[in-house]
């Protein structure tokens, strides 16, 4: 069952070093000396979280659709989005706050 709450960028993410090319990125977390590859879908999600208050998964789908991405509000895409967000959470880039 889906948790209720919102996703946002972590405070630490602003201190990461970024290199972005053609819809892909590499980020370097100096604190943990870790480097992460960010694919096009993950980068789109991060950009949808940028500079805005937290968003639920449904709100994120809307933001992504508004930005021209072909994500649908169906169960399959929703699960894909949750998996992506979990991955970004493991990288220390996004965090979930339960409501």
């Amino acid at each position: 069952m889906a948790r209720s709450g919102t996703w946002r960028l972590t405070a630490a993410s602003s201190s990461f070093a970024w290199a972005i090319w053609d819809g892909e990125a590499v980020v370097y977390d100096e604190r943990l000396a870790l480097t992460h590859y960010i694919g096009p879908a993950a980068l789109a999600v991060l950009q949808a979280l940028e500079g805005q208050s937290g968003a639920t998964c449904d709100e994120l789908i809307e933001r992504l659709r508004s930005a021209g991405h072909s994500i649908e509000p169906n169960a399959e895409d929703l699960q894909g989005l949750r998996d992506l967000l979990d991955g970004l959470n493991r990288c220390g880039l996004a965090e979930f706050r339960a409501s």
Partner: protein, 306 residues
């Protein structure tokens, strides 16, 4: 003065007493050894390299000598030391020169942190460097030797040294280390080239070193701007496939193959990102050296076959 100006007896004498201060690219190493096999190999491979005066500053003081005790008479061994410390276990004495080469690599990667260093062969043509990062066994030295004998300038077969200030590759032209089947493959391709004797049963298999081309040694002070990053992978029986790689994937692979990325931290990240920004990135899978060389001769931006 270059090392080849010394006669073999002068070289042996210097090596066994004060040492020979050998300049390889940006590094001066004072080498001492009483082993004739080391003197002979240095005379073969480093004849065109400059040597500094005996009292010049040396970045490293290294020694390769036989071990003491009964081992002098029974399965003689050699040990590599740098500033008196032995970072490796002794090896059979016929491996003394390969051990010196591995030791010199170790010195550079362990201490030269003013540079960003990649585990990568690197060659240059027309002012642009082709960087070939790969783990051992990927065929990068074979490819490097093939490229060098097709007209590219050798910068290094093992260590790509990046100056973080200029983003240029700093040449370190030294003997190319070939292993197993690659030795015969390159020997056939470059019949005039000078090889050391094959040393068998090393922990890398059979090893032979190929003397660096004279022109590459003479132009060792000419740094080169990176133009391409190609990640080679030799795989038996496959067709040649040169496939573009995104810059983000190229950067990840470069970081994977960096010796001291975390020493440099965020500035290292910026350096490698800027380097990738100016490069085209590819993955190369190959089994046939001729095919691979021909694909690399046609790299985008490479106007003429060298």
């Amino acid at each position: 003065m270059k090392l080849g100006d010394l006669s073999l007896s002068e070289l042996r004498s210097s090596l066994s007493r004060t040492g020979v201060s050998l300049r390889t690219g940006p590094v001066v190493t004072r080498v001492r050894s009483r082993l004739p096999v080391v003197a002979d190999a240095l005379a073969l491979h480093y004849m065109e390299h400059p040597i500094e005066s005996a009292n010049a500053y040396a970045d490293f003081n290294v020694r390769v000598d036989g071990t003491g005790g009964l081992r002098r008479w029974f399965r003689a061994q050699a040990v590599f030391t740098v500033d008196g410390a032995a970072p490796f276990d002794p090896l059979p004495q016929d491996q003394a020169f390969p051990m010196l080469e591995w030791g010199l690599n170790w010195c550079v990667t362990t201490f030269c942190h003013q540079y960003l260093m990649l585990h990568a062969a690197v060659v240059e043509h027309d002012g642009r460097a082709l960087i070939l990062p790969a783990p051992p066994g990927s065929g990068k030295s074979t490819l490097c030797a093939g490229l060098v004998h097709a007209g590219w300038r050798l910068l290094s077969d093992e260590l790509t040294i990046i100056d973080p200030g200029s983003l240029l590759v700093v040449p370190l032209p030294r003997p190319i280390s070939l292993k197993n089947a690659s030795i015969e493959l390159i020997r056939q391709r470059a019949p005039g080239a000078a090889f050391s004797d094959v040393v068998r049963a090393t922990n890398k298999g059979a090893v032979a070193h190929l003397r660096p081309p004279v022109d590459s040694v003479h132009h060792a002070s000419e740094q080169a701007r990176p133009g391409w990053v190609v990640l080679p992978r030799w795989q038996s029986g496959v067709g040649t496939d040169l496939r573009p790689l995104s810059k983000a994937q190229g950067l990840m692979r470069l970081i994977d193959n960096a010796f001291n990325f975390n020493v440099h931290g965020p500035s290292g990240f910026r350096t490698l990102s800027a380097l990738i920004d100016g490069c085209q990135c590819f993955e190369l899978t190959y089994s046939n050296l001729d095919d691979a060389l021909s694909r690399l001769a046609d790299l985008p931006g490479e106007r003429t076959t060298p």
